[in-house]
Symmetry: none
Subunit: 215 residues, 4 copies
Amino acid sequence: MILMDDPKQHLLNVAGQKFAEKGFDATNVREITEAAGMNVASVNYHFGSKEELYLETVRHAARMCEQITPMPTWEEGVPAEQRLREYIRSFLTRLLREDVPTWHRKLIMREVAEPRPGGCEVFVHSFVKPSFELLQGILRDLTPPGTPLETLHLIGSSIVGQVLHYHHARNVLKLLFSAEEFQRLQIDRLTDHIWRFSLGAIRSLCPRKSKGEGR
Amino acid sequence: MILMDDPKQHLLNVAGQKFAEKGFDATNVREITEAAGMNVASVNYHFGSKEELYLETVRHAARMCEQITPMPTWEEGVPAEQRLREYIRSFLTRLLREDVPTWHRKLIMREVAEPRPGGCEVFVHSFVKPSFELLQGILRDLTPPGTPLETLHLIGSSIVGQVLHYHHARNVLKLLFSAEEFQRLQIDRLTDHIWRFSLGAIRSLCPRKSKGEGR
Amino acid sequence: MILMDDPKQHLLNVAGQKFAEKGFDATNVREITEAAGMNVASVNYHFGSKEELYLETVRHAARMCEQITPMPTWEEGVPAEQRLREYIRSFLTRLLREDVPTWHRKLIMREVAEPRPGGCEVFVHSFVKPSFELLQGILRDLTPPGTPLETLHLIGSSIVGQVLHYHHARNVLKLLFSAEEFQRLQIDRLTDHIWRFSLGAIRSLCPRKSKGEGR
Amino acid sequence: MILMDDPKQHLLNVAGQKFAEKGFDATNVREITEAAGMNVASVNYHFGSKEELYLETVRHAARMCEQITPMPTWEEGVPAEQRLREYIRSFLTRLLREDVPTWHRKLIMREVAEPRPGGCEVFVHSFVKPSFELLQGILRDLTPPGTPLETLHLIGSSIVGQVLHYHHARNVLKLLFSAEEFQRLQIDRLTDHIWRFSLGAIRSLCPRKSKGEGR
DNA sequence: AATGAATGAGCCTTCATTCAT
DNA sequence: GATGAATGAAGGCTCATTCAT
């Protein structure tokens, strides 16, 4: 029997896993409560409704994501190139690391891709925006002053898109690549590639300024 | 009243829209048939079951995607740079053009992201793979001979990731960017950016060969 | 393709088989019409409704039963013992012979055992009663004058019960007896047994009169 | 309002009645649950499915039949004639007594006559066989040693057939006999007739041995 | 505080029947 | 005269939710 110091928390964890795996609609409360070894009514008792339980799992996932794999912060003077590399690595780590419960990120990615109506746009805002702005700060230091905001946004999107691809296309990549090659798509290797790819691109787009000074 | 020369086709179209919007589970047949102005039993009459109707919409979507916005082919001698540009443009067009029913691509992207069990992996294979191999051919011409396959795959993924980002992140981009800026994310502009970004990156990664000859 | 000089008759035959096999409720019109190679609407076109088609098959079955295996008639002077034997043989033949379509009797037995509401009690009357009265005539000759009607009825029921048992219990007998023994339950053998059994019983019940004279 | 100490049992009883009356196909769950004063979903809640509820009613009916009207057992030395009489009486009692719920036997007879596919042949075996073997034991004592098994089977079938006739032909007998005479077909009277009829027949078939000793 | 029994709305599907042709 | 398409009522079943305990 699983220790149940906090039954509500236990229920939340089990529900989170199920929702992350199969989505809201395909998961029913009986399945959740049985897997949790609890009563069918416990969902409504603790959370009021299935809907509210779902929102709670999403909020919890966001908190845990941030806590377990925080985005980096730097002291003054760290070169923008290095910061970019660490940003990419952190982002990839969030998506791919396997030494922590994976349902957090799966659930969030699911919610970002297709927010439930009446859902948590506010939360998405508060979760995604800081990360994107962190990247914008780095890019500002990698590009000449006066580079239009829109250009920064496009470059940012290019970098984020590359990273997220390894989440979104995981099913397809398994089919396109050999099992062996798929196995080698590890965080280190991907960080290295995306960093070099993006840095080369940025230097090519904005030839002047190639040395990143502190912010 | 909608013209109903072919009621089965009409039903397929309405169902496709619904499935693309809300997914299989969240869409019920009553909703589909009411929207189509047809009887509840018509789904089972024409397609046998909701499941089979769904599969049919996916197959139809794939056919139409390919037919309406085919990937480009080139004659001998077209420079690889130009081919890359046209590849990116075609890909973006598939994802973003608004002058054709959008449910085709939405449904396919949904199925790629999360294939239904017992679903159409075969189809995905046959739909995604050629596109990716077309890109690989271009990249082979843009990189020095002897460039490892794995490198080509990584570069390919970087390009595809950038493009797909504007599909996957459409909800988030709406929140991150101003409405005005979001509006400006048109095919032309994005093609231009991704092309220049990627080409710069490739040249930077593989400095020698910068001129793409015919294949 | 089956010859369809009379499509209505063809439909009736196919329906009769299905109804006899699986009963009214478990048989649906699509199944019937498909087996008949005809249109779904043909049932309603030719017979008005499934219900009416059913009644028609029962009526047809009764006519054919009577026509194919008529109950015997005798000239003056045939001994009652012989008439009893031939009665039993005819009855068993109706139930067990396999060289004619079996659905007629199956359907009738089904209807007798459990008449459909609004069904054909009238018909049953007209079908069963003559047969039972034929038997009563024989028994009157086998028993002393003045034997109460009720006794004749009981004896008649005993004989009919024995015969019908091989229809009603066919499923169970298959389980109770060896396959070999079950195979041997042929009309001749059963006639012989039931006749001797019943005759012995009658003589034992009514010791005086053991010689059957003509009526 | 019916007492509902055990709602599951109550549902079983109501369902049993309906199934016995109209058969599985013609009975729908709404009808059952309404008659039981319960919710439509209660069938699936308590029994999983309509099919499983049906099987449960059959099993219950078999248990109750055996329990309420058990077949007799005898000590050493009871004459075979007496045992035959009591066997017939018990059998008739099972079929005709009206002081206990009648759906038990109706349902069983229905299942015996036409077992549902995937049904309970095993059960039939275990229910019918012992009864038939009990009779065989009696007949062995009523017939000379060396009487072939097949003869015993035929005699047994003749006896069982007579008894069952009053169940199978109940609808027809109502039409053939006057209401008054039909009313008089009581257990005592029928036992007496079938016993004397059969005993006379056996003695006539096997003239030697007429005294039944204990087994 | 937490449960197990029980509910009713809603789902997909089947079916006899109808209607335009 | 006969069909094939289409219908709507009804069926069994699932599910989130409720309620007495």
